[in-house]
Structures are given as C-alpha cells and as structure tokens.
Symmetry: C2
Subunit: 281 residues, 2 copies
C-alpha cells in the first residue's frame, strides 16, 4: 500500500489524511506541519502516523500532497520537484492554478506533478477543522492534465475516487476564470457583508438575534482565513476584479430600483436572480 505524504495538516490536508487512511488508499500517512501546535494537535487527533521533515516526506512518500496556502505552495513546489525521485507524484490542492502551473512549466520533473483543486471546504481552518467525508460527492478539478504523465494522472484519479469526488478537466487559466466567477466572488461578497453589518449594527445582541433571518448562511464565508485568501485574491487579480466590477454594477442597479420605488425593476432583478434555482439546490 502507498505511503502518502501530506504537507500542511489543515482543513484540506487533514481531511484527506482521515479518509485516505480509513478507506485504505494510504497504508501510511506522513505529515509535514510547520506550526508546532498544529503538528501536535494533528498527532493527537491521529491525522498522521508520523510528523516528518519536508525532505523526509518527499523521499519516503509515493504521493505527496501539497496542502498549504497558495503563496507558500508556489515557492515549495519547484523545490519538491527538484528532489523528487522517479515514479513518485506530487499534487497540489490550491484554489488558484495559473501561478502554480507557471512556476514549474519548464521543470524537468513537471510530468510528476498533477495539478488539482478539490472543490470542498468549510469556513474553518487548521487540523481541528479536519473531518471525514468532507469531499464526498463534490467535484475535483484537474488543471492542465496533459502536462502530467498519464500514469500519474491515473493514480491521482484513483486517489480522488477514494474520496468520492468526480473529476472535471480544464486548463489552469479556465480554472482561474471560473473559480473567480463562482467561488472567489462569493467570499468577497461575504467579507463585505460582515464588514457592513459590523459597521452599521453596533449592538452585537441584535446581530445574534436577527442572524436566523438569512444572515448567518450568507455571511458564513466571512469567517475564512486571511492567510489563505490574500494570495488567492492577488494571484487571481484580473478575474476577481472583473467579477467584482460586475457585482458592484448589479448592486447599483438594485440600489436605483429601491431608491426610485421601481417595483417593476425590482421584480425583474429578483426574478432574474431566482433563475439560480434551476442550477443549484
């Protein structure tokens, strides 16, 4: 059975560790965790069999999962490929893809890297956020898979099949466009909502009491971590700005309709928005 090395035992890395081990894909899980408290917690929680150094992890693992924020991942990936032996594979799980693919485009070991983005998560982070079944039934994007060796892609398809994910193939640039349009904008609007409510509503008790009127689900993503989201928003700068501009435009249209008591315009905006029902539950 395979030894899987996981660099970064946070929400994603830790959750992968749980299911890959429990479901028999990994015989052994080696963990790399720079934060000492997180490393100890991960061991206490049984996320990894051993905490090892980065070098040990690269040397001893059959598959290496790079599960750190995308800023750090872009720096670490070339170093891992410098050291990796034949027949071993490294994957990343980052939320932006163009930068990380560019960072190893001409690397001689590029074929041993498979670029993936499992579309699952919660607003929490750290090993204490790891949970079984996090990935079940979700989509996993494989970006630029033609740049990887077919045997490596096949092995990683099996890894995600063990996590009950369905694969979707697209280029790294398409990935960054589509995630900006759907996922990244949702985080930005949620951050802005939290800032607004905290600014306008000085009484925290009112926020708590009224949160069940829809606020709590809409603002959920505003709990997301700055270390993860700053590099996503800056690396995916152009796509994120584009979709933010469209969003601000829509808000302005909504504002005008409210300001002028224009019930027809409001009906059109709301009913157009309702079309999202046809796509997602």
């Amino acid at each position: 059975m395979r030894t899987v090395g996981i660099i970064g035992l946070g929400l994603i890395g830790g959750s992968m560790a749980i299911d890959l081990k429990k479901r028999g894909f990994a015989g052994k899980v080696l963990g790399v965790e720079a934060d000492k408290v997180a490393a100890q917690a991960a061991m206490t929680m049984g996320l990894a069999d051993e905490i090892v150094s980065l070098e040990d992890c690269v040397d001893r693992s059959d598959i290496i999962v790079l599960a750190v924020p995308v800023g750090a991942a872009v720096k670490m990936l070339p170093e891992i490929l410098d050291r990796i032996k034949e027949k071993k594979i490294v994957i990343d799980v980052c939320s932006t893809k163009e930068h990380i693919c560019a960072s190893v485009k001409y690397h001689p070991a590029r074929k041993q890297f498979v670029c993936t983005h499992p579309m699952a998560g919660t607003e929490y982070s750290g090993p204490w956020a790891a949970q079984p079944g996090l990935f079940d039934g979700r989509a996993c994007i494989f970006a630029d898979q033609e740049e990887s060796a077919p045997w490596a892609v096949q092995d990683i398809l099996e890894l995600y099949s063990c996590l009950n994910m369905r694969p979707i193939f697209m280029s790294s640039s398409s990935h960054d466009v589509h995630t900006a349009y759907v996922s990244h904008i949702s985080h930005v609007t949620s951050f802005a909502l939290a800032l607004t409510v905290l600014d306008k509503e000085k009484d925290e008790k009112h926020i708590f009491d009224l949160a069940s009127g829809g606020f709590s689900s809409t603002v959920r993503l505003a709990k997301s971590n700055a270390d993860m989201w700053i590099p996503i928003l800056t690396q995916n700068h152009n796509n994120v700005l584009q979709v933010m501009d469209t969003y601000i435009e829509k808000m302005q249209q909504f504002r005008e309709a409210v300001a002028s008591y224009d019930e027809d315009a409001l009906r059109k905006l709301i009913e157009d928005a309702n079309k999202i029902k046809r796509i997602i539950r």
Copy 2:
C-alpha cells in the same frame, strides 16, 4: 382549546399550523388561502382542518394569524380589526413593522392586534415549504407591544412559547432599522450575487460544479420570492438604502485593495470581517 385562524398557508403560516396543532396550542386550525392550488395542497397536506372565507376565519377564530406578504397585510389588517369581536386577537408575522403599525395606529380595536416577527424561514415558499420545527430556538420580535392589551400579549407569548421561540421586544421603527442592517441586506447581496454569477458564467455546468466552493450557501437567499421581497424593500426603503450604501462602500474598499495588490489592506479587511465569528456560529 383555541381555534387558530391562519390567513395565508405558505411557508410561515403553514409551518405555524403544523406545530400549533401538533403541540396542542390549537384545537382547530382554520385556513384562508386565496390561491386555489395552494389551498388544495394545504388541505391534502393536512395543514388546516378547514379552508374558510376571510370573514368566517375572523368570526370563528380565537387567534387570527395574518401570514401574507406585507403589502397585502397592510391592506387586510384594518378590515380584520373592523370586524373582530372582543377577546379575540389578530397577529401579523411580517418582515417590516412601521407601515403595518401605522395602518392601525388609531383603530379602536388596536389593542387586540399584536405585532410580531418570528425570525425564521427558508428560501422556499408556499404550503409545500411548510415544515415542523421551523421556529424552534429562534427569536421572535414583538414590536410596539405597549400598544397591545397585556392579556393579548400574554396569549401570544404563549403561542410563541409553544413554537419554542424566545421573545424580543422593540419598537416598530427599531425593528425596521435592525432587520434592514442584518436580514434585508443579506437578501439584497444574495440577489446581486446570483445576478452576477448568471451574467459572468455562461456555462451552467460550471456553476453547478463549482457551487460547493461556498457559492451555494452565499446565494441561497437569492431563491427568495419577489412577491414577498418587493414590499419589504420598498416599505423599508430608507433603512435599506442606508445599509446598501455602506455595503457598496465596503465592496469598493475591497476592490481598491485587490486592484492595488495591497496585502496589508486586504488583511485588515478580512480580519475585521472575521470578527463576525465572535457573534455567530
């Protein structure tokens, strides 16, 4: 045991009907439902014991629950108070309070009206959206309760206690400010998010595939009904505009930080937004 009349057997009225009957607060539930299909569905689902006319409902019920969109409620409430007999009570469950309170401010039967807003719901509507336990553990706002007779308030406190709601008392104008700041703005940002994603992302399959990256929970409220939300947004016009303006400002600040790759500004914005964690789960 009391006879409870429910005008409007939708999500809120229907869900109240289920629990008030099941938990023994109501011996009989009389339903008024203008929409014939909804009325038949409500009977098939057992939400009401009888479907009756508005007049019958007012004459035969001990407590009348006005559970229609706020535009219709403002028109119906004075007519109900015109007809209501002594010792009977009418309550509304609308999401804005100033207009409905103003509509009966000098009505001779004002004391028999208790103005409430149970803070619970889903993005679905109609009798088919009704569910048991919808209100459990949530807050219910009593607005301008000093305008109602104490015996009437007491009876309605018991009604909401049966629904496992905790009462909160405030003026109708405070209610409209605070719901705008917390609940109404969440709906507007969600509508705008749906409009944005449907505009930018032409491929519905991508929306579906990427929705688990947080989009689905953030956009949930965008499925909400235009008939319900148009009167809320126009009746609560001033408060809603104020909070929308603050929201647009926050989005602009976020946009500037992304546009200028200003990581410090982004960190401050995200960490300020994260403070919402201290208030709601």
